[in-house]
Every structure is written in C-alpha cells, then in structure tokens.
C-alpha cells in the first residue's frame, strides 16, 4: 500500500464569489454553495462571513472548526459521516492549508469562547492564523437543539470537502509523506517505539466526540490508523471550556502524531495512536486507564504521550492513565493546562499523577486584555463577559478558543518565578 500523502495547497486569501474555485493560493467561496452544504430541515438560514488574520474581527460563540480536505473524486474524507468506514488507506488527501470553516452561534451547553483575529488573543488561538469561513445559523422553528447541532456539524464537514475539491487539480505547494506506525514485530534499528494516547471528551450531547460518526462514549480504548484520523475519522461535537477543546481541525492535524512523525527514524519510531473515551464515573476512568496501559504494552510501545480534552474531570483520566502506564514500566508524558489563579500563585493542578514528567500548556486563569474590534461574528454580545461583542474586554485565557490546546498544538506554557519577584498580572502572553 502506498504511503499516505498530504497534497498541500496554501491559502493566502479568501473571498466570496459566484462559484467556488481555487487559484494561486486564493480561495473563492461560492455563497450559494455554502447554503447548499448546510441545507437541512433543522436550519432556517445560514449566513457565511469571512475573517482573516490581522483583521480587527472577533468571532464569539465559536463551535467546531474544520480544515478543508478532500480525497478527490474517489471520496473518503470524514469516514462515518460522508464516506464509508475502514476503507484501505493510502493515496492522497488534498489540504487547503491556511483555511478553516467554523460555525458560530448559540447552542445549549456551549461554554462561550472567542477568537480574535488580531491583538493579544491572536497569539494564543490557532484559529487566528487561518483564513476562516465563519457560518452563522438560524435554527428552524420546532427543530430540536440536537438536530440543529447535527445539521451544523454535517454542514461544516460538507463545506470543508466541497472547498478542498476545488483544489484537486491545482499544482500543490508541498507534498508530505505521512509516516505510518511501525508494527510491534518490525525492527526498530535500536530506536525506542513511542506512541500516543488521545483521550476524547465523552459527556453526552454537546460534549461528545465522534469516531467514525459514533460517540466514543462506552467504547474501550482502541488503536486507530492515524491516516484515518488525518482524513477526519475523529470529529468534535464538544463545546466545553473553549481553551480546553480539541476542535476537528486539531484532530485532522494531530499535533502529537505530527511531532512523532517528524522524529520518526531519527531518534524514535512512531509506534501508533490509541483513542480513549473519558467516562464520567470513577470506575470507568480506572477501567479505561488500565486497559489503555495494557493496550500500549501489547502494541509494544516503549513510551507514550498522553493527552486529554476538558477541565478538572479530565485531569483525573490523565492522572490515572499516567499512573497505570508508569506502573507498567512505560514512561508516560501527559499534557496539562494549569489552573493556578489569575496571578499564577495557586496550585497549578486539581489532580495529577503520583509522579511524572508533565508538559504545561499554559494557565487557564491568566488574564488577557483585548482591545475593541471593528466587527463581530457569531452574535451581538459576548455574554460570558456581559459586553457588546466588539467591546474592549479583559478575559481569562480560558475563553480563547484552543488557547491551552490539550492536544499540544500551542506554544503557550508556564514557568515558575520565585516568590521574591513581583507576579505579573497580565500581558505576559
């Protein structure tokens, strides 16, 4: 089977036009085609907008974010949603790098966040660096919120594929080979085999993550072909703490898998990817942790990087998993955000492993002052701060979408400063 490849088409500008096309790094989005992608009995109307890096634009109430990708006429992107599952992988996936489709608006249980396309918050969100097609929506009368949510998700996935279809015949900017996991029986040339465990938030409607179109809730940990994840086997319907979400876009570009692939053959061998749900009850958390540790050993992992999604509850999943892996002799490095209070002097974790090497993705409570913006998308108000959506506002990092990326996409972190130095209140980001 050929090595899977990403065929990369850079996007430097987006605009609306009559028909969707892609030429010379410019993406034209056909307005009517957006409406067609979102056609659903649960939606009365959709309104597409554009938000590009450096613009004085704020997106409030962001929901999921998806990177435009297409496997061309043969299809196969978003298996379980728009394509059959478990096709044999390999072959080529076209990527519109630098573009994203994003839904914004009210849904129940969506903990409200924001994306600023410029200013201090733009350094913290991965979606301040993409040219975004932002879709606002009106629910149909009598539609249930669950149906509205599903319709928005299907619309985002369809639009993402439709946009990337426009680039299939274009000359690529880059072709990336995607290293596949080495099997446990493959010789490693003396290099350690390092894998990843990705915990997925599974707390019911509006806080759920889908694998092959199904909720991961109730599943046991499983190995999955990372090429399938590249093609959208993992889709997010999880609208908890904005900074602590892993939108679909981040799964498509799985940062831990990318970091392991980048070192594959140099100082390690990429050993594989395990997906695992985050159950809400303790017995379930213990079962998942023990089983995931067993699975990693059975698959021959010498060490593993473990990630989560969500806040305190999910910290326990991470802690138990690290404890189980370390007890089994498999070094495990977890990625943790910190909750050390606005001045950073509080205890950073609510639950941590007994021992371990932790990576910090930054402080949830640190305040950031955002300047006023010219226009806002997603709604007229930033309800979480009780201000007009365009207003200058001080927010905790917690409200900035993806700012503490639990899957490791961000460059934000924390370091200790001795107590005799004055704590810095803000602006350090």
């Amino acid at each position: 089977m050929p090595v899977p490849q990403r065929i990369v088409h850079e996007v430097n500008a987006v605009e609306f036009g009559e028909a969707t096309r892609y030429r010379q790094r410019r993406l034209v989005v056909g307005s009517d085609e957006v409406a067609a992608a979102f056609a659903d009995a649960a939606l009365a109307a959709v309104r597409p907008h554009l938000a590009s890096p450096a613009e004085r634009v704020r997106i409030v109430k962001p929901l999921d974010v998806v990177e435009p990708r297409s496997r061309g006429p043969e299809g196969g992107t978003f298996p379980g949603w728009l394509a059959p599952i478990n096709r044999s992988r390999g072959g080529q996936t076209h990527v519109l790098r630098g573009a994203a489709v994003l839904a914004a608006g009210y849904l129940p249980r969506n903990q409200e966040g924001l994306v600023d396309m410029s200013g201090p918050a733009a350094d913290l969100s991965p979606f301040s660096r993409t040219h975004n097609i932002v879709v606002e929506f009106d629910p149909a009368e009598d539609a249930s919120w669950a149906d509205v949510d599903a319709a928005v998700r299907r619309g985002l996935l369809r639009l993402a594929v439709h946009l990337a279809d426009a680039a299939v015949d274009a000359e690529p900017d880059a072709v990336e080979d995607l290293a596949q996991p080495h099997r446990a029986v493959d010789p490693t040339g003396g290099l350690p085999r390092v894998g990843a465990i990705t915990n997925l938030q599974t707390q019911g409607a509006f806080k759920d993550v889908f694998v092959y179109g199904r909720s991961m809730a109730g599943s046991l940990p499983t190995l999955i072909d990372p090429a399938e994840v590249d093609d959208g086997a993992v889709v997010s319907g999880q609208y908890g703490h904005p900074a602590l979400r892993n939108p679909t876009y981040v799964h498509q570009n799985h940062p831990v898998v990318a970091a392991l692939r980048a070192r594959d053959g140099d100082d390690l061998r990429f050993a594989g990817l395990v997906l695992c749900p985050e159950p809400v009850e303790q017995a379930g958390k213990e079962l998942m942790s023990e089983h995931a540790a067993w699975l990693c050993r059975a698959a021959g992992f010498d060490a593993v990087i473990v990630t989560k999604e969500g806040a305190g509850n999910a910290d326990n999943d991470l802690a138990l998993k690290v404890d189980a892996l370390e007890a089994a002799g498999v070094p495990a490095v977890p990625l943790y955000p910190e909750l050390s209070g606005p001045d950073g002097t509080g205890p950073p974790l609510v639950a941590g492993p007994r021992r371990g090497s932790l990576v910090s993705t930054g402080n949830y409570d640190q305040r950031v002052s955002l300047p006023a913006v010219e226009r806002a998308l997603g709604g007229p108000r930033l309800d979480v701060a009780d201000v007009e959506a365009t207003a200058a506002v001080e927010v905790p990092v917690a409200t900035i979408l993806g700012a503490l990326s639990p899957l490791g996409a961000g460059r934000f972190t924390c370091r200790s400063t001795p107590p005799q130095e004055e704590p810095v209140q803000e602006g350090a980001a």
């Binding site: 903990q111 350690p192 703490h241 950073g344 492993p353 932790l358 009780d386 490791g408 924390c414």
Partner: protein, 344 residues
C-alpha cells in the same frame, strides 16, 4: 526606630475562644499576647505601639472588614504592619493575608506570618509571607524568624526564601518556540535516556491538599445542619448573575419556610454539566425535600435557613479555598454543626 502595629485574633489577644469569634475590630495600646515577645525580639530597633484585634468569624466573613482594620492600623500611626502568626488556622490566616495584602497595596510595609499550607496564603497578594509553624507550640521559633524579617522590611530590603519567605512561586505564562506536542517528545526521549521523571517535568508535582475529616457530630438529632452546593443552583432568572464557570463569588438564599425547591423557581446555571435533570427537580441537586423529612422525623435537630451557593466549574483552588473558609466562618457564627455540600 519604626512604629509597628500588630494584628492578632481574639484568641491570642486573650479575649476568648470560639465563642468570641464574632468579636468586632478593636484597637489596643501597645503589644498584646505574642506581641510582647515580638517587642522583646525587636529590641531597641522598633517598637510595637498598638495591637489590632478582630474575631475570626467577623474577620473572615464580613464585607469591608479589611478596609476597617487597615483604617485602625493607620490610626495607630503604623510605619510597619505584622499580621499573625496565624499558624495553620484558616480563618485567621485569611484575615492576616488580606490585611497584609491591603497594607502593601496602600504603600505600608506589611508582613504576614503563617504556616505554608495555611489556606489563607493565596490571599496575600504581593505582601511577603514568612513561614510559621503548624501550631502555637512553635510561637517562639516563628517569631524568631519574623522579627529579623520585619527589621529587613523596615530597612526597605526585599525578603527572600533565606528569610523564611514562603508562598508559591508565580506560574507565569509565556510563548515558547516549540509546541507542547514537540516538547512532549523531548521529555519522552529524556525519560527513555534514563532521566528521572521529576527532573524533566515542566510542572512540579506535589503540594496537593489532603483534608482531614472533621470528628463525627455527636448528637445529630440536636444539630443544626446546612445545605451547600457548588452546582450553581440559583433562583430562576439568576437575579444575582452567578457565573456559569470560574466563580469569583458565592451567594446565599433563604430556604426559610420552604419544604421543597419547586421546579421553575430554581435553576442551575452551571456550565459544566447537563442541567436538564437538576432543573426538572432542583431537590436532586440540593436535597431540601429529603432534609425537611429528616427534620420532621427528628433525625436532625434543625435546618439552617440559608442555602450557600457557588459554581465549582473551572473555579481555581485558591478561590475555592477562600470560599471554604468564608463558608465555615458564616456557618460557625450561625451555630451550624454540620453541612451537606453537593457537587456536580
């Protein structure tokens, strides 16, 4: 020579124990209680000119009390302020930390003394905190550390760990060159090369609290019991606008005369769990109906007439500790012996 004003609680001032915890602020001439030993240790360099006293419940649970206490400190002509040592006592520690923080902010050189695990320590802001022992048995040793620190503060010098300064170091955010995922790979490789787990971590572990359970209530049938929740149950419409996450405050609502929490009258605004079931029957979040039944049967002596409410979702440990101390002060002041705290 500088004029030192010393803040202590009712117990160390000799004005009473728990029964006097509601004592309002008062100003005493010269040193009192541990202030006498402090005055000796300071020698001729500095003098304890006055002592400000307040009951623990009053100091931890009354709005505006810190400003009132600082006003008294000023009135006594303070050039230096010492609060404590509060040892491990939560309410006392919080009052000491807050007053020292307010003094520092107002430009008065201020110092708090308490055990490093005192839950109040997070309230000290930028005021220096000097380590004291866990209990009053360590009074002399603690003051022997405090006196030279106070002298150093008087000289305008910064206090460091060598002076016994404690408090968590601040965790400050910054952007770095590599993503968290790339850094994780580096840590994995260092672990595989044999480095110890604790040596290669970006977040130091340890320092987790363990809470010692209180002694069992002796006569439940005679006890007053309070209902508390961090599940954000508030009157419908959320009139006081409790946050759905990252609480900065807590609220209290009367349940006097209520037999049940009727659906439609109450709602949970917690952003961290599915509230549908709780809103359909608020008694399942805060069991007022069951508690009233126990009261009628004589299984509990009485129900406290206030429900204390906050939201736990995303609330930092520092803030949660503060709420705990404030709730304990309020409940003790009301003569409550036990509480049921429901979480989500």
């Amino acid at each position: 020579m500088m004029r030192v004003v010393h803040y202590i609680n009712q117990f160390y001032a000799g004005l009473g124990g728990e029964e006097a915890a509601g004592l309002s602020p008062r100003l005493l001439d010269g040193p009192a209680g541990p202030g006498r030993l402090l005055d000796q240790l300071l020698g001729d360099e500095h003098e304890v000119v006055a002592t400000v006293v307040c009951g623990d419940n009053h100091a931890a649970g009354t709005a505006g009390v810190t400003e009132e206490l600082l006003g008294m400190v000023r009135e006594a002509g303070a050039e230096l302020l010492l609060t404590g040592p509060a040892f491990g006592s939560g309410r006392y520690g919080m009052a000491c930390a807050r007053l020292a923080a307010a003094g520092t902010t107002a430009g008065l050189p201020s110092l708090a003394a308490m055990h490093p695990d005192n839950p109040g320590i997070g309230e000290a802001g930028t005021a220096p905190v000097i380590a004291a022992g866990a209990s009053a048995r360590k009074m002399r040793a603690s003051l022997q550390r405090v006196a030279p620190a106070l002298a150093k503060l008087a000289a305008g010098q910064a206090l460091t760990e060598q002076d016994g300064r404690v408090g968590r170091s601040a965790r400050l955010g910054r952007l770095v060159e590599h993503t968290a995922a790339q850094r994780a790979v580096e840590l994995v490789l260092r672990r595989l090369a044999g480095e110890d787990a604790d040596a290669v971590t970006e977040i130091p572990l340890g320092g987790f609290d363990s809470v010692e359970p209180a002694a069992p209530v002796e006569k439940v049938g005679a006890a007053s019991v309070a209902l508390l929740t961090e599940g954000a149950l508030v009157p419908a419409g959320n009139p006081d606008r409790l946050e759905s996450a990252r609480a900065t405050r807590w609220l209290r609502y009367s349940v006097d005369g209520l037999d049940t929490l009727a659906d439609g009258d109450w709602e949970s605004v917690d952003g961290g769990f599915a509230t549908t079931a709780a809103n359909a029957d608020p008694n399942r979040l805060v069991p007022l109906d069951a508690a009233r039944a126990l009261q009628r049967d004589g299984a509990v002596g009485g129900l406290h007439d206030e429900l204390l409410v906050t939201v736990g979702n995303g609330t930092s440990v520092v803030t949660a500790r503060r709420f705990g101390v404030e709730w304990a002060a309020r409940l003790r002041a009301a003569g409550v012996q036990a509480a049921i705290l429901t979480a989500t």
